[in-house]
């Protein structure tokens, strides 16, 4: 009877946010009691009954989970301009309404959410820092960081893919000629077509400059041979920005080519099975005598590595921003859990160790956020310290935010380990941020090189 009374509310609360199989009776009772207490506390505190169904029904519940307007010390809108606050608001709303309800399903069923990403592109999220004349939104790196941080609270994996797509679109926008920009960017900005960044090879990860994929010039075509590994969006994307060797050894022999899906000689490996990032497919990209027109080359021959690294600088800020969003969501989830869960006769929020741990999590979050935003500003102004600062931001934020999400999982106890609760997905999704777009070890290389170089 207790369960039935609240069933409709509970059903909405759980069915949308967690997989449907959580409604089995065995898991049902502890979850119901948790949910009822959670909702009961909220209902008592909020008083006015109108509030309990206002808003677009589901949106209310997810915003309670997202807990807008709580805990001012970790408020991500502090220090932003009015316009940036508006961008952030739209991104948070989009994340709460369009992404958060599906994040578990996308992860479990490995769905690539094309329609949702296209909706995001309609709001301008397809080419955030791409110039407006080809369909981009023309915003700054800081605006981009703020937007991805907010979107990431809805689904980190999808937001991370969107950031890679944005990076590729920017590379074409910045280094392409007018013809290339007009050919590719408009479709990419509306996400009518999707893009992938192809640098890593089976034998070349951190040592990216030693890549082997060759591009031999024959008439007005380059003939590509080789393969790329771990390509996000691989197989589903339409446009591949490929770094390949047109010249001699080392970074100076690398050029950047745009290869379109459907080009003869372009094929894909099997879809990889990953621990996280399951809402985006990852495949090897294989070139077998793949002919690409010379007019698809971005910039000059030998400029490819430079283009790739410039793309990655922004990409690193974006990935760090995705980590920030996941950590922000986890801090709020952990905080709410501590106020609800009782052990030893009182709520966990009365336990000093957990209070201190929550404080540490919040401190790590704010510190990471400040560094990421500082790096975004430096990159926007093209300052001398921009590259090492972006590396520092990526290194620090991804490591700290993983610690935050991991600690949040621990606070949930056994429930944190269940796929019915979103914390584990945030943990799994941001674990890879410490590895890709330059491992955190490579970040240390970049920073130490800057410190030790001859002045």
């Amino acid at each position: 009877m207790y369960i039935k009374l609240h069933y409709p509310f509970h059903c909405v609360f759980f069915k949308l946010h967690y997989p449907a199989n959580s409604l089995y009776i065995r898991n049902f009772i502890p979850q119901t009691i948790w949910a009822v207490k959670f909702i009961g506390v909220m209902a008592l505190a909020s008083g006015v009954t109108l509030r309990s169904y206002i808003g677009k029904s589901f949106r209310l519940i997810f915003n309670r989970i997202q807990k807008r307007g709580v805990a001012s010390c970790i408020d991500p809108s502090v220090g932003l301009s009015d316009e940036q606050k508006e961008f952030q608001k739209v991104a948070f709303e989009f994340a709460a309404n369009e992404m958060a309800p599906h994040m578990a399903e996308w992860d479990e069923k490995e769905i690539f959410p094309v329609e949702t990403m296209r909706k995001a592109a309609q709001l301008g999220f397809g080419g955030i820092y791409v110039q407006p004349d080809v369909g981009g939104s023309g915003l700054s790196r800081l605006d981009t960081s703020i937007i991805f941080e907010a979107l990431s609270t809805g689904c980190t994996s999808t937001t991370a893919y969107m950031s890679i797509h944005n990076m590729c679109t920017w590379m074409i926008d910045t280094f392409g000629n007018l013809d290339q920009r007009q050919r590719f960017c408009p479709d990419l900005c509306t996400m009518n077509k999707f893009a992938s960044y192809c640098l890593t090879e089976p034998g070349d990860g951190s040592d990216a400059a030693s890549l082997l994929t060759s591009a031999k010039l024959e008439g007005d075509h380059y003939i590509l041979n080789g393969s790329k590994a771990f390509i996000s969006g691989g197989g589903d994307s339409d446009v591949y920005v490929v770094m390949c060797r047109t010249g001699g050894k080392g970074a100076k022999g690398i050029s950047c080519l745009v290869v379109e899906k459907g080009t003869p000689g372009l094929s894909f490996g099997k879809k990889e099975k990953k621990v996280g990032w399951n809402s985006q497919p990852t495949r090897a990209v294989i070139f077998e005598d793949c002919a690409v027109r010379v007019t698809n080359r971005l910039g000059q021959e030998g400029q490819g590595f430079n283009i790739a690294m410039k793309g990655l600088n922004g990409g690193r800020i974006n990935i760090a921003s995705c980590s920030l969003g996941a950590a922000h969501a986890c801090v709020q989830l952990a905080r709410d859990h501590l106020t609800v869960r009782k052990q030893f006769g009182e709520t966990l929020s009365n336990n000093q160790f957990l209070q201190f741990q929550l404080a540490e999590m919040a401190t790590r979050l704010v510190a990471s956020r400040l560094l990421v935003r500082q790096a975004a500003g430096a990159l926007q102004e093209d300052r001398d310290d921009a590259v090492p600062l972006c590396s520092m931001a990526k290194l620090f934020a991804t490591d700290e935010c993983f610690t935050i999400c991991n600690q949040a999982l621990q606070m949930f106890g056994g429930y944190g380990y269940l796929k019915d609760y979103p914390v584990q997905q945030f943990v799994r999704d941001i674990r890879v941020h410490q590895i890709l777009e330059g491992t955190n070890e490579v970040m240390r290389m970049i920073i130490s090189r800057n410190l030790l170089k001859d002045s």
Binding site: M42, L44, A45, S46, G47, V48, L50, R51, I54, G55, K56, L60, N63, R64, Q66, K67, R68, G69, V70, S72, D82, E83, K85, E86, F87, K89, V90, E93, F94, Q122, L123, G124, F125, I128, P132, S137, L139
Partner: protein
């Protein structure tokens, strides 16, 4: 049509925030608390913008009354597609006592001044739940009103409004100019797009004083005390049905 629509929006405490009563019981804590546009006002703005997109009306003017911060709310409406904004500056003590009567007087004066054909408001604000401003505005202007609208159709110079009432749905046909108040199911407000947010920066917000409109802001109401709802009392367990009946009789329930 060269019609102009006036949309009233209110800046209220965000619906997801936990409300706290001030220690002196004079009101609710609003300092440092997250505010946003009243959800019903968002629906009203969306409806006006939809009418403009259908080319049935020419211009959407957004109005809000209050201190400097309401300009944020007006900007949000501009980012959703409104053309320009009017900020009626009311600050200090006056803003605390600003209620439906004062706002409806302001809206009536502005509707006449701006020569509006249609005034769209949210049905009620989620902070005071008055559900009065729309009705009072219509009365002051002596215009027809279509409240709790779940569907609005413009037919020439008449307005067909489907209202959600306790008994079901009621369809009324109003002569324009008219006042409409938006209910939950009228539409789903759009997300502001990034380009629109940037365009909104350039749109004009005029600042007007209530005295310029000849409106007297004195309130006829005084808030004596604000309290939280009573804490839920513990229940009592009884052993037999007879005990239950006698306890219910004691409490005067049967």
């Amino acid at each position: 049509m060269s019609a102009r629509v006036l949309v009233g929006v209110k800046r209220v405490i965000d619906y997801a925030v936990k409300i706290r009563v001030k220690p002196d019981n004079s009101g609710v804590v609003t300092d440092g608390v997250k505010h946003s546009m009243n959800p019903f006002c968002e629906i009203a703005v969306e409806e006006a913008v939809k009418l403009k997109e259908k080319k049935l009306i020419k211009e959407v003017v957004v109005v809000s009354c209050g201190p400097q911060q309401v300009q944020e709310t007006i900007r949000t409406a501009l980012a959703m597609g409104a053309d320009r904004g009017i900020h009626v500056e009311v600050s200090g003590k006056d803003s605390d006592t600003l209620g439906p009567l004062q706002v409806s007087k302001i809206l009536a004066a502005l509707a006449k001044k701006e020569d509006a054909r249609l005034v769209i408001l949210g049905k009620q604000a989620i902070d005071d739940d008055c559900n009065q401003t729309g009705q009072m505005t219509a009365a002051l202007l002596d215009w027809p009103q279509g409240t709790f609208a779940s569907e609005v159709v413009l037919e020439g110079d008449k307005l067909k409004v489907v209202r959600e009432v306790d008994g079901g749905l009621e369809t009324v046909r109003l002569r324009m100019p008219a006042v409409v108040t938006a209910d939950l199911r009228l539409n789903t407000p759009r997300y502001a797009t990034l380009p629109n947010i940037m365009k909104a920066k350039k749109k004009k917000i005029d600042v007007v004083k209530p005295s310029d409109l000849g409106v007297d802001l004195t309130s006829r109401l005084e808030v004596l005390r604000v309290d939280e709802p009573p804490q839920r009392q513990a229940g009592v367990k009884v052993e037999t049905v007879e005990d239950l009946l006698s306890k219910l009789k004691e409490a005067g329930r049967i």
